[in-house]
């Protein structure tokens, strides 16, 4: 049965935006019991489409034409009050960030039972009984405890399960999931995807699943619609699109998805440029009245980075991989152990350490000062180290060229660059100090897949040309496989497995490594 129909929908952006329409002439349909994945990169209009169907368009956006029907009913004719009654009961939504989608001051049980109390007018006892049943259905461990818990007491995956229970509370005809697993770790992501698929089968719900990740698509989709610049460029059965994409954009997107197989191993230099020995770091978080349990972020971590090679440090959130990166560049002081770079311990003085080790940061939008010119931010390190300003600026221009930017762009401000270009500036800034070790902390995780592939290619190219030694921190095993020679898998502040990346991926020894590799979405279809 046809649940949702979108026909020739166009949505106008406010005047002065970079294009006239957010989405243009979009036609989609969704039958009961099927999962439609809407795939696209940022700015493709996939989220706008979802918010239009929910009647939750951001201020300034307006429907310019087309039709939306829910089980045959015209949605465009609905009044705000009719929309309100519709939402939650007949169309429900699961958001990307479960922490901000839940009220932090209300217990999970109260928020969940509100669904039945508001929409169906059930009394408290009955609503709570249903909430408990709902939490059982999404397979939360200890559902009774979760009912009384507050959102911050649950993990990210558990919060997302609560959101799903809430969305499915009133058995909606259509469930819209807007990147529901993007903020989650791979193993949690795999569990949540399996849960959504299982629930959707049992209830026969029609699911519109918005994602940028073709791995997730391969895992969950029945049908796929690919969006680019506000238009649907290709749609069809998932298997067809994944194996025989027709539109060049779909092909480019699929080609950019990093495969989980490592390239052929290359010979590595025997001498180590960076040695971390028995590093430990404990965060003692102090509460207002009580001392909370100290967190061991690093627990005797030892890793070795060979000269001219790339070592991937892989782990889920909370594994201590970012703490390790911050200790290695001297942003955090370790409690014990030692960091040796080029045969000598990491100097405590910032200026001396800067010559040895540099960092590329995760967020291309937060890692550049918005009020200073890009070139100045690249040149300032060498200037502080004693290079004459004129020469440092000349060097900055050369580095801009090296990372694939226009050398004349040094005089622009960061907001005039795209995310991928900003990350290139961050790489140029790190290279300006001519460090022995480059630490890259999730440098591509905030970027779209196609941009991600370009930045990874740039890093690979720079490594070949400059002989860089890179410590590459990532949560994404596919990305690690693209670039790295060796891998160290971290869990709860300790290294559980190390080795050549090809060998570790082909024959993981530790059960945790195995579970990480198995959780990579879309392995079966996209080829592991």
């Amino acid at each position: 049965m046809r649940r949702l129909e979108v026909e020739g929908l166009s949505i106008r952006l406010p005047r002065g935006a970079d294009r006239e329409f957010a989405i243009q002439d979009v036609s989609l349909h969704l039958d009961s019991g099927e999962i439609l994945c809407v795939v696209g990169e940022s700015g493709s209009g996939k989220s706008v489409t979802a918010s239009a169907v929910m009647g939750l368009l951001a201020p300034g956006l307006s429907v310019a034409g087309g039709a939306m029907r829910l089980s045959g009913e015209d949605l465009r004719a609905k009044s705000p009050e009719e929309w309100r009654r519709l939402r939650g009961r007949r169309i429900a939504m699961v958001f990307q960030e479960p922490m901000t989608a839940l009220n932090p001051l209300m217990s999970v049980g109260a928020q969940l039972s509100e669904m039945w109390r508001v929409h169906l007018g059930l009394d408290r006892r009955e609503a709570e009984a249903r909430a408990l049943a709902g939490l059982r259905e999404v397979k939360l461990p200890d559902p009774e405890g979760a009912l009384r818990a507050f959102p911050h007491e649950l993990s990210g995956g558990q919060r997302q399960r609560v959101m799903i229970a809430m969305a499915l509370a009133l058995e909606p005809e259509v469930l819209i999931c807007d990147e529901p697993t993007t903020a989650l770790d791979v193993t949690t992501q795999a569990q949540v995807l399996a849960l959504i698929k299982d629930l959707q089968r049992r209830h026969g719900t029609a699911v519109m699943f918005i994602t940028h990740d073709f791995g997730v698509v391969a895992e969950i989709a029945d049908r796929v619609a690919v969006m680019q610049h506000g238009r649907v460029v290709e749609q069809g059965a998932a298997r067809d699109i994944l194996t025989r994409p027709e539109h060049p954009y779909t092909r480019a997107l699929l080609a950019a998805v990093p495969g989980a197989s490592a390239p052929a191993p290359r010979p590595l230099s025997p001498d180590a440029v960076l040695e971390v020995r028995g590093l430990s770091k404990t965060y003692a978080t102090r509460g207002l009245f009580r001392r909370r349990r100290p967190v061991r972020a690093l627990d005797g971590v030892s890793v070795t980075l060979r000269r001219g090679a790339t070592l991937a440090v892989v782990g889920e959130s909370g594994s201590g991989k970012s703490t390790l990166a911050r200790c290695v560049v001297g942003l955090l002081g370790a409690d014990g152990g030692e960091i040796v770079i080029g045969g000598a311990p990491l100097p405590r003085r910032r200026r001396e350490a800067a010559r040895l080790v540099q960092m590329v940061f995760q967020d291309p939008y937060a890692s550049l000062n918005p009020r200073r010119r890009a070139g100045a931010q690249v040149a300032q390190g060498p200037i502080a180290a004693g290079t004459p300003p004129g020469k440092a600026m000349e060097e900055a221009r050369r580095l801009f060229g090296l990372v694939g930017l226009d050398p004349e762009a040094v005089s622009r401000f960061p907001h005039e660059f795209s995310g991928g270009q900003r990350q290139r500036i961050g790489i140029a800034r790190a290279l300006a100090m001519q460090p022995q070790v480059l630490v890259a902390d999730e440098p591509v995780s905030a970027l779209d897949v196609s941009v991600q592939a370009q930045v990874l290619a740039l890093l690979r190219d720079l490594q070949a040309r400059l002989g860089l030694s890179i410590l590459f921190i990532t949560h994404d095993l596919r990305v690690a496989a693209q670039l790295c020679d060796e891998v160290a898998v971290m869990r709860d502040g300790a290294v559980v497995e190390t080795g050549r990346i090809g060998e570790v991926f082909a024959a993981p020894k530790h059960p945790y490594t195995r579970s990480l590799i198995e959780a990579i979405p879309g392995r079966a279809l996209l080829g592991a």
Binding site: G16, G330, F361, Q362
Partner: protein, 277 residues
């Protein structure tokens, strides 16, 4: 340049600038329009505005020209506002920047000092300072600056606390840049917009504080400030209310102008907002 263009496109900001330019014009041309001492006897006391063509705004209870005092008073009020604000903002930014950037014990120490200043009502503190150090125009200005900095320090500190952990500041640490660079070139420019807006509030309050002192006849009686004029009108408030009302309106308009300019600056100084328009 982009910031300037954004500023020029905002009608309230232009209106505020127009008022401030008018006040500035009065201050600059005072000597030219009214070359005689504005505090000297000019004619019969308490003439209503318009009653005598020689005194378009009338005369005060001592027979001095109100218009002349208004023009010369613009100098004094602007000077007090600007200098006192500069003092308050400089002390406040220095305290707040150091406290917020270093945190820990430094922060605790500096914030206790700030709180000590803040717990005293600032007008009371101002009265004490003026009582101890005298009420010449210089001491009054410095005293106003000294009682106005704590909110600036708290605001700056709050901005620094969030900005110092940003990735771009960490990136500069990794580049080996010294603390002075981090504070002055990286964090401060990003922390300034709210401080600049607040500076306009400080300036408005500084002008008001001086008027309040003058109203109590505790300011420098030898300068023709607007506050002094309001104070002079106090005794005849029910009959010749214009003596207090005319400088009162002048103060009101000046403060409105300062606030509008501050708001306009805030909107214009954010490059992302400016390019989005």
């Amino acid at each position: 340049m982009r910031a300037l263009r954004a500023y020029l496109r905002s009608p309230p900001a232009l209106f505020g600038s127009a008022i401030l330019f008018a006040v500035l014009f009065m201050a600059v041309t005072a000597q030219w329009f009214y070359p005689n001492d504005p505090l000297g006897l000019a004619g019969r006391p308490l003439q209503w505005p318009g009653a005598n063509p020689r005194f378009p705004l009338g005369t005060d209870p001592s027979g001095r020209d109100i218009a002349a005092q208004l023009f010369h008073g613009a100098r004094v009020s602007l000077l007090i506002g600007v200098v006192a604000t500069a003092i308050a903002v400089l002390i406040g930014i220095a305290m707040g920047a150091v406290a917020g950037f270093y945190g820990g014990g430094v922060d605790t120490g500096l914030m206790r000092v700030t709180e000590a200043f803040q717990t005293l009502p600032n007008f009371l503190l101002l009265l004490v300072l003026v009582a101890v150090f005298g009420s010449s125009i210089e001491t009054v200005t410095i005293a106003i600056g000294l009682v106005s900095w704590p909110p600036v320090a708290r605001l700056t500190r709050a901005e620094f606390l969030t900005l110092r952990t940003r990735e771009f500041v960490q990136a500069c640490r990794v580049q080996g840049l010294p603390d002075a660079h981090l504070i002055l070139r990286e964090v401060l420019p990003n922390a300034l917009p709210p401080v600049i807006v607040y500076a306009s509030v400080v300036m408005a309050v500084a002008i008001l504080l001086e008027s309040a002192l003058a109203f109590l006849q505790l300011s420098d009686p030898n300068v023709p400030s607007w506050g002094n004029l309001i104070g002079l009108g106090r005794n005849v408030l029910r009959t010749e209310w214009y003596v207090s009302a005319i400088p009162g309106v002048a103060i009101l308009l000046t403060i409105l102008g300062v606030s509008l300019v501050g708001q306009g600056l805030n909107d214009a100084l954010n490059p992302r907002l400016a390019s989005g328009r």
